[in-house]
Amino acid sequence: MFGFLKRFRKKSPWILHYNTGSCNGCDIEILACLGPKYDLERFGIVNKGNPKQADILLVTGPVTKRARARLLRLYMQMPEPKVVVAVGACACTGGVFRYMYNVENGVDRYIPVDVYVPGCAARPENIIEGVKKAIEIWERKKKERIELPKLVEGVEGEPLDRRTLIRQLEEKFCKRLPGEEEE
């Protein structure tokens, strides 16, 4: 039964695209993939914009300190099976922003990344190839295995409990009132 359903995964991957402080170069290229020239919708790929219904997370940008809590939250809200594609040099390593005071040097410090797409900005052909690789990985994943972000310092608790983890992460990253000192 589930073998039968798994055959349809590669025919309808839905994308969630999140920009963690990128310069918009890679975002434009991702949109170009979905536009008339490259037309990813002919493979059933649509940009859903909704983590609860998405299968592939396309992340661009070096994770800025403001964006990381949202990134973790989006990753946790995606139902399994899911894959993550880091698009562009910034998302892979931090790119030109590496070791700056406000960035976290790439996505894989916080969430497990399945495919890295290099380039500044990543070319549409590269992105399509990366998504294709991601679908190959996605087809091997099981929905029973819960995937959570890498635990960061100061966040403990049951690794399987989504809600507690979200609350702890929000307490750590989101409650920064004006006047409170930055890390």
Binding site: F2, F4, L5, K6, R7, F8, R9, K11, S12, W14, P36, D39, E41, R42, F43, G44, G49, N50, K52, Q53, D55, Q77, P79, E80, P81, K143, R162
Partner: protein, 278 residues
């Protein structure tokens, strides 16, 4: 005839899925794209069945399923069941289940989408009721078999109401310029945002049923001349998709003004005119 109607009612999710597939393909061609395969909605359906479903709470998930069941009941009432007026009321009931689900979660987009969905109901359903009343006035029958074998073509007696009904379809199907309740770039689907996995599947499929529901209503305007009926359905859907591709989203106020200021007077004038003229 009864057997054919029952078959259409039973297969309506599949037929609706095919119509949705045709829509996606045609819209892509209008935008100079290749577009997804014709059976893409079913690929999505099977993929969603194999995803983990994250529930908010059980009432929310139940309302998603109730939306699908009530929408299917509405199609049944239209094609097989008691009469077409009941079908319109069941259609409202289905949308109310959906709004109840949207209101039951904390997500602001979901609540906003549900509020806008109520505006859609207010705008569209009176015109559907007028259409059903006018079908009765011209053919003298409340049920589909009576209308299809009445020997009359309702379109010729109520062109104004038919025009109003055609312009209501974007409101019912949530197509541009009236895709207000599920504005994908703005509130990411509205009331459907919190559904995932198999519960989203129910909501996704319930929308296919609306094609069959509204398509049948349009078909009835051909009366006993089936060729006119099929032509009307094809041309109407083509027009709706063309409008969808070439317009931008309006606001709720525009929609209410248009529906209650233009469409409803048109429909009411036509109905009163028929009632007095008879």
């Amino acid at each position: 005839m009864k057997a054919i109607l029952l078959l259409v009612a039973l297969l309506s999710p599949i037929l609706g899925g095919i119509v949705y597939g045709i829509e996606r393909k045609l819209k892509a061609r209008m935008q100079n794209r290749m577009g997804p395969p014709l059976l893409q909605p079913f690929y999505d359906f099977f993929k969603l069945a194999d995803k983990r479903a994250l529930q908010i709470h059980s009432f929310h998930s139940l309302m998603g399923i109730a939306f699908f069941v009530a929408a299917w009941f509405a199609v049944f009432a239209l094609l097989v069941g008691p009469n077409i007026l009941v079908a319109v009321f069941l259609h409202v009931l289905a949308l109310l289940f959906f709004t109840a689900g949207g209101f039951s979660v904390k997500s602001p987009y979901s609540v906003m989408g549900a509020l806008r969905e109520l505006a859609h109901i207010l705008a569209a359903e009176p015109i559907l009721v007028f259409a059903v009343i006018a079908l009765y006035l011209t053919t003298g029958s409340w049920d589909i078999e009576g209308i299809l074998s009445s020997g009359k073509v309702p379109l010729f007696e109520m062109p104004l109401l038919f025009a109003a009904l055609v312009l209501t379809i974007p409101i019912v199907l949530k197509r541009s310029p009236f895709d207000i309740s599920e504005a994908h770039q703005e509130i990411i689907g509205g009331a459907e945002i919190e559904y995932s996995g198999i519960f989203y599947e129910a909501v996704y499929t319930a929308k296919w049923l609306e094609y069959i529901f509204i398509g049948t209503l349009i078909f009835l305007f051909g009366g006993s001349n089936y060729l006119i009926g099929f032509l009307l359905v094809a041309l109407t859907f083509l027009l709706v998709w063309l409008i969808d591709n070439s317009t931008t989203r309006l606001t709720v106020h525009h929609m209410m003004k248009f529906a209650w200021g233009v469409l409803l007077p048109l429909a009411a004038f036509n109905v009163f005119w028929i009632a007095i003229w008879r």
